[in-house]
Symmetry: C2
Subunit: 239 residues, 2 copies
DNA sequence: ATTCCAAAAAATGTATAAATTTCTATTGCA
DNA sequence: TGCAATAGAAATTTATACATTTTTTGGAAT
């Protein structure tokens, strides 16, 4: 008998999954700019792969709302706009409020412990890698995601959780696109602690209020970022 | 000058979209049975097309929750279960309750008129094509979908509406899979009228109560259908 | 300046090759 | 003789290369 008889999930060895991960990272980080055309030739050279895995990846990303496909004229990076940011945020507040209430209604000691752990771990990692200027910390992002996922994780609906995940991804891209100099001034750690505190005390109204305020504040900061949303459209550069 | 300068949406002329539509119809109708393996060779012969358009269609259907993909071992028709039916129904009740409330909060005369029209048109078409036994009427299904889409259509969130559409599709498959002899005994037309009446009177609580009861009743009928959910699993048929 | 036509570019689709999984049958051991 | 493990063969999924179709672009003629 071996210790490891057979890996249940033998890792996504397929090339399509690998390209999907890389493309996704480049979309979320903004390295692939909004509304940019994703030409096959360019993608094949950049990611060193064939069309089949690429099409597979692009189709999945379309479902995630990060890529847009126009029949017979190719794939494009999903465009951004103030209107969409506002709508996504509004939707996320509605849906996560719902999911959080249901989670709290179905609360268990094990779930509360998960939440305490997630919040604790998040609080122990710095938001930015650099002390002088803001520099995205992947570890923090990962733990942040887990924390918010845990909040709604007890609601009892896989599809609802998955939908929240999609909204989170799309909004995450906005955050990354924004220069977000204002972020350091916010005490997001305190906000996370305050949400958890309300959850543990069983006060659903307060927990929802704090959670939605948390999301709204983030959106407000990005909405004010002039760099990401061009005021006047200048398609033909002063022609 | 021509009358039609350029068609804004020149119809999905691509083969992938065509296969997607046909596959989708066969999945929703149950002609492709749950948990069945979708082999490329079989699909290519059945739908008379190549692999590229097929993979494209299958990937989209995976995003719709009608097909499941397992890395390196192919595509499968999404399986059904009592647990999933219950969870989908629960989620739909939650999310559509939310969307309906927001629609009503943002109500306009134009929207109310849309709703009246949708309900009227639905009421004028027979639920079944045959009077003696139940036979699915595509026209009724189409109008039914429009009616429910209209109810939540004023909520102001495209992504929320799209999510509701996905849930509707997945649940529609359960309805089609079920023999549903009990359906004729229900007066679904009255239920639709009652929901609309509550909406027009501005009573959100009542409208939501009637809408969720409407969905729950449908699920309860299907849950009792012994034909779709095998009690004991008999994988090796008395071999 | 506008329209029409031709050439180029790019997306969609087909056929073929490579890699992985699954099935089958044989071998080894109790 | 029966069971488990293993190795080889078949089938199937995944990836590549090539062909076709559609869109876009550029230029010439009206």
């Amino acid at each position: 008998m071996e210790l490891t008889t057979a890996a249940p999930l033998p890792a996504p060895s397929t090339q399509a999954s690998h390209v999907y991960d890389r493309l996704r990272e480049d979309l979320l980080s903004g390295r692939l700019a909004p509304s940019r055309k994703l030409q096959m030739r360019f993608l094949m050279e950049t990611y060193q792969t064939g069309q089949t895995p690429l099409r597979e990846a692009l189709n999945r990303l379309t479902a995630d709302g990060l890529v847009e496909v126009r029949e017979q004229r190719g794939f494009y990076v999903k465009d951004v706009s103030r209107a969409e940011l506002a709508e996504l945020t509004k939707t996320r507040c509605w849906v996560e409020a719902l999911a959080l209430r249901e989670s709290m209604a179905a609360s268990t000691p094990a779930w509360e412990e998960q939440l305490v752990l997630a919040q604790h771990r998040l609080s122990r990692v710095p938001r930015s890698l650099s002390a002088t200027e803001f520099e995205d910390n992947p570890e923090w992002e990962k733990l942040h995601r887990i924390y918010h996922r845990t909040l709604i994780g007890q609601c009892g609906s896989q599809s609802l959780i998955a939908f929240c995940g999609q909204l989170a991804d799309q909004l995450y891209r906005y955050r990354r696109l924004s220069i977000s100099k204002a972020f350091p001034s916010r005490h997001v750690g305190d906000e996370h602690a305050a949400i958890m505190e309300a959850v543990l005390s069983g006060n659903a109204d307060l927990a929802v209020k704090r959670l939605t305020a948390h999301y709204q504040r983030t959106a407000d900061v990005i909405l004010q970022d002039e760099a990401i949303f061009p005021e006047l459209r200048r398609e033909t550069a002063r022609g």
